[in-house]
Amino acid sequence: MTEEQILSELAEILNEVAGVEASKVSADKSFLDDLEVDSLSMVEVVMAAEDKFGVKIPDEEVKNLRTVQDAINFIVKAQ
């Protein structure tokens, strides 16, 4: 999957589980500060991403995923 595809899938997940408008999602956005995804919603996003991309995102890794780009990088590497 390309980075663009991952971004678009992530935007869909963020919309479904955290109510973030898909059009607001871009790689440079921070989950917490820009998209207002709180810590528990972040867990839901991570779980949905694991299902969608077939990767495992360990608990200790979640706090390192500050921006959407961080998540994309992690998923690209893990795939």
């Binding site: 709180d38 810590s39 528990l40 972040m42 867990v43 991570v46 779980m47 608990d59 979640v62 706090k63």
Partner: protein, 333 residues
Amino acid sequence: MTQIKAPFRPNGTKVAGVGGYRPKRVVTNDEVAPLIDSSDQWIRERSGIIHRRFAGPDETVAEMAKLATLKALEFANIEPEKVDLLILATATNPAQLPNLAMEVTHKIGATHAGAYDLGAACSGFSYGVAAASEAILAGDAEVAVIVGSERMSDFVSQYDRGTAFLFGDGAGAFVITRDEEFKIAPPVWGADGSMAEAICMTKSWTDFQAETASEFPSLKMEGQRVFRWAITEMVQVAHAALAKAGIQVTDLGAFVPHQANQRITDHIAKSLNLPEHVAIAKDGIQMGNTTAATIPLALETLMENNEVKSGDLALIMGFGAGLSYSGQVIAIP
């Protein structure tokens, strides 16, 4: 050879009484928020909690347990001296010794009751329901009390952003007696020590003693890790507990999970596809997380609001530090 006489073993057990004690002082989010650079809205969105209660100096773990126990005994119409076993589930005894269950039996005048403390944090109440029920089934006791009582405010730092707003104080009790039928199903329980540090104290008492200028130990929690564990694992536990009771989710009248966080309750309830008619406990909104006391307090609220009726089946389920869990189906008295 002389045989040991077999005790009388009843066919089943039931919850005969429910009683709660809520400390007098109500603590609003506005009171908690400034110390953690937060706000009422922030707390509501993340936990559902509107307020919790903090115990005063006279509302000790044993005193609150006494008041909850007496209320549950009154409900069951049983005199305190008839109690032959009292189990106190608590994680907040401020002293290593003595345990506090015996102070409770002394206070209520249960003069011949056996008494012990049980420590399994937020799962403690459900473990205790099993222990009390099994003691009766084995013929060891006729009337048993399981009471959860907590002063979380003594062990949670009011400056810790991850936990300060979540916890509260309170106590709740079940009276358990013999019955012709099984009205308390066997528990599904478990524990995963590999996640012990997900909810723990900042240091042990011995480490604290070694560092004289040290900060008093308080509770700490990896909220995201615990949330994920709860919303995935507890769904399986709920299904297993229903299976042990031989019932379907549609047979339930109430779902009374540990009140850790409303978002956890909502998640599990959604995953279980609970039918419309199942009352879902939301007492944590007004009490916060009172650890071993949440389940009886939440059931008491559902009963007082007539959201459930006598004979309805309730799935009760505790989970937390350990990480540990225990849940079972009971018939509501």
